[in-house]
């Protein structure tokens, strides 16, 4: 009986009902604020990252230009006319065929130019790792199904 009265009294207390509504509303507001803050944070981070990407792209382009310029400058400094001029200044002179000595060097291979060394030959290479090390489980099952379990 007493408990029923307490519940009745509690339910009927209007300030409690209001507080519940206010609490729920505030909870929703806080939830939305948190989501908004999170969204703002993520957006801000993305914007900063995006700006950094733009700057890095710009830097990449600048460096590429500088690289091309330096390469051209180096080529200018090592051009045939320039190298010949420097060689003559140092007291060198062009060699005649009879002045050369030829020595056989077993196994000697003429060095590749640097420009070709920088690139990979497209000649297909044999796979270094056996297939077991690179194959996924699905690929393995697929292969077994196709080959009927035999290799």
């Amino acid at each position: 009986m007493q408990a029923t009265q307490i519940i009745h009294a509690y339910k009927q207390a209007p300030w409690r009902v209001q507080r519940q509504y206010v609490g729920a509303f505030l909870l929703a507001v806080i939830g939305m604020a948190m989501i908004a803050a999170l969204y703002l944070d993520v957006t801000a981070r993305a914007a900063v990252a995006g700006r950094e990407i733009q700057e890095l792209r710009f830097n990449t382009t600048t460096i590429q230009r500088a690289n091309a310029d330096l390469e051209t400058q180096l080529a200018n400094m090592t051009s045939t006319t320039e190298m010949e001029r420097r060689a003559l200044e140092l007291g060198y002179r062009p060699v005649k065929p009879g002045e050369l000595d030829y020595v056989p060097v077993p196994g000697f291979a003429a060095p590749e130019p640097a420009i070709l060394l920088a690139a990979d030959d497209i000649t297909p290479r044999s796979q270094a790792l056996p297939i077991e090390y690179t194959q996924s489980l699905i690929e393995w099952v697929d292969e077994r199904v196709k080959t009927g379990g035999s290799r």
Binding site: R51, R65, A68, P97, G98, D121
Partner: protein, 579 residues
């Protein structure tokens, strides 16, 4: 009282709700109005800009990795009219730094159409000038002087040729619109230029990842040996001076695979100043005479005639011919170059003394069908297929052509009445130096793209003669050079070759006073590793090839054996034994 407050509150609430709803309705209405679409499109327009991204043009290297064609940064100098504060100051400064007049710059700045936001003052300005201008801008900014406000610099690439005129005839050039003309630059323009891409560059940093990466153009590595090219060009320039020739061409090729090692012609231009083309050449065929200009080469064609005759069995090296100094072919009398009778000669003697009569007789013995069949197989009258732009075909008249006469069989046999380019001759004669296999000349050694190397394989262009014929003729030409004590010889090396002195056709018959002199030779004779073709136009010091083109060949051969590390025959054979 409470009720009054409640009514007032209700009215205020209703009012606020109404205002709120009105705001929402208005927002929705504006968002979906026709004007909104215009505003949205305007907003989109200013949210970024379309930009054409031109990839960096691929570089060109020689076979040793030396840069022959690269790129350097130049700037477009312009002024943002909206930001401009002091046009007079800008005109004064830019006029001084860019070499323009004050009025020229000022007119651009103040007389531009109102719709213009930006005006270009000068393009292709060098980095040093721009650096000086930027320094000045900084100083003025520090001094709170806004006189240069609005001035801007847009960097972009310009083609650069570090070796200036070296191999200019072979490389070609790139104009300011980015298109390649002549040579490699034109032939491989699409590969070198890459694929320009139009991209939308958003100002929103969140969309920064949407900008695609444009790959650079393909880098090319040529078969050219830069040092040999330089030497050959020097030799050619000196030859023109020494022999008073108008122009000339020298080609060095590896007869085993068709790789062009050097290709020099005159005149050449500094590729960094390509506009000199218009004042240097009368037409495009003069740009690279080695491939673009066909001429009557004269006696060097006798090599092909003899090759055909040996291959068909019409003659052997020991076949004898009684030379009386003249022969009648098609009702026309053909004379030797000295109008003398040389008596009994074997076939080596016919080549050694370059007897027109003997070779005309050989052609008549072969008959036109067989003779022209071989000339066709040697590629005369067809392009060689070299990977350079602007190749000429030459002209080989054949029976059935309206302008072919019976006498042509005789004259064609010693290289008159048939036009060839120097490169065509090299390709044809490569069969003699390469065991009967003719090679396709090429200048591209390798392509580099995205970090991968693609080597260009050598190609054979057929086998017009047998290996036995080639070796026999090779020996005959080596002997004929030795017995002639030719100026083409190089001590320590056994070489094979043939001179060619040709009269020049004009509208009124052949020019009696001027000749084209040529020489084709290769070595070492037992293992040919290089082949050289020399052509000097109208030499005044001597009209004979043996006195002009032959010594030039010797000079080229001397430089070639040094730069290609080809030891003298004795040493080479010793090294071969010890290997």
């Amino acid at each position: 009282m409470r009720q009054t407050y409640a009514v007032r509150s209700l009215i205020i609430v209703i009012g606020l709700v109404f205002v709120g709803l009105a705001v929402i309705v208005q927002m929705v209405r504006i968002q979906n109005s026709e004007q909104a679409k215009i505003f949205i499109s305007q907003g989109d327009r200013y949210s970024g800009e379309f930009s054409m991204v031109y990839p960096e043009r691929g570089e060109i290297y020689d076979r040793g990795g030396h840069l022959l064609a690269g790129n350097r940064t130049v700037y477009e100098v312009g002024v943002s009219l909206a930001e401009m504060e002091n046009p007079e100051k800008l005109a004064s400064v830019l006029g001084t730094y860019l070499g323009l007049t004050y009025n020229e710059v000022l007119n651009k700045l103040i007389e531009s159409p109102e719709s213009w936001e930006y005006v270009v003052i000068q393009d292709y300005v060098g980095a040093e000038t721009v650096s000086s201008l930027q320094e000045l801008m900084k100083q003025m900014e520090d001094a709170s002087d806004d006189g240069l406000n609005g001035l801007g610099f847009k960097p972009h690439f310009q083609r650069s040729y570090p070796e200036d005129s070296l191999a200019s005839n072979l490389l070609g050039f790139v104009t300011r619109d980015g298109r390649g003309y002549f040579g490699i630059e034109e032939k491989y323009n699409d590969l070198l230029a890459g694929n320009p891409v139009q991209v939308w560059v958003p100002r929103d940093p969140n969309k920064a990842m949407e900008i695609p990466k444009v790959p650079n153009g393909t880098t090319l590595v040529l078969t050219i040996n830069r040092d040999l090219q330089a030497k050959v060009e020097n030799i050619l320039d000196e030859a023109l001076t020494n022999y008073g020739a108008e122009n000339g061409t020298i080609i060095v090729m590896d007869p085993r695979n068709g790789e062009i090692l050097a290709m020099a012609t005159t005149p050449r231009i500094d590729l960094n100043n390509y506009t000199a083309y218009f004042s240097t050449y009368d037409n495009g065929s003069q740009y690279n005479r080695a491939i673009g200009m066909a001429y009557e080469a004269g006696s060097v064609v006798k090599v092909l005639t003899m090759a055909a005759a040996l291959d068909t069995g019409t003659v052997t090296p020991s076949t004898t011919y009684i030379d009386t100094g003249s022969i009648e072919v098609g009702g026309i009398t053909i004379w030797n170059w000295d109008r003398q009778a040389w008596g009994q000669q074997n076939m080596t003697g016919c080549l050694q003394h370059s007897l027109n009569v003997c070779l005309a007789w050989i052609a008549t013995q072969m008959g036109p069908q067989s003779f022209y069949g071989y000339m066709e197989r040697f590629g005369l009258g067809h392009q060689t297929g070299i990977d350079l732009s602007g190749e000429a075909m030459g002209r080989l008249k054949v029976p059935g052509d309206s302008d072919w006469y019976n006498v042509d069989l005789g004259t064609n046999a010693f290289g008159q009445g048939v036009t060839v380019t120097p490169l065509q001759m090299m390709m044809a004669v490569s069969a003699v130096a390469n065991d009967g296999h003719m090679v396709t000349p090429h200048v591209l050694y390798s392509m580099l793209r995205d970090g991968h190397q693609y080597n260009v394989p050598s190609q054979y262009a057929g086998s017009p003669i047998s290996s036995a014929t080639a070796n026999t003729l090779n020996e005959m030409l080596a002997i004929s050079l030795e017995q002639e004590s030719s100026q083409a010889l190089l001590p320590g090396y056994r070489l094979a070759g043939k001179t060619g002195t040709a009269q020049i056709p004009t509208d009124f018959g052949y020019d009696a006073n001027h000749t084209n002199v040529s020489f084709i030779g290769w070595g070492p004779a037992d293992d040919p590793q290089f082949m050289v073709y020399v052509w000097l136009q109208r030499p005044s010091a001597s009209i004979w090839s043996s006195e002009t083109a032959a010594p030039v060949f010797s000079e080229v051969a001397e430089q070639t054996v040094v730069l290609l590390n080809i030891p003298p025959d004795v040493v080479r054979l010793q090294l071969a034994v010890t290997k």
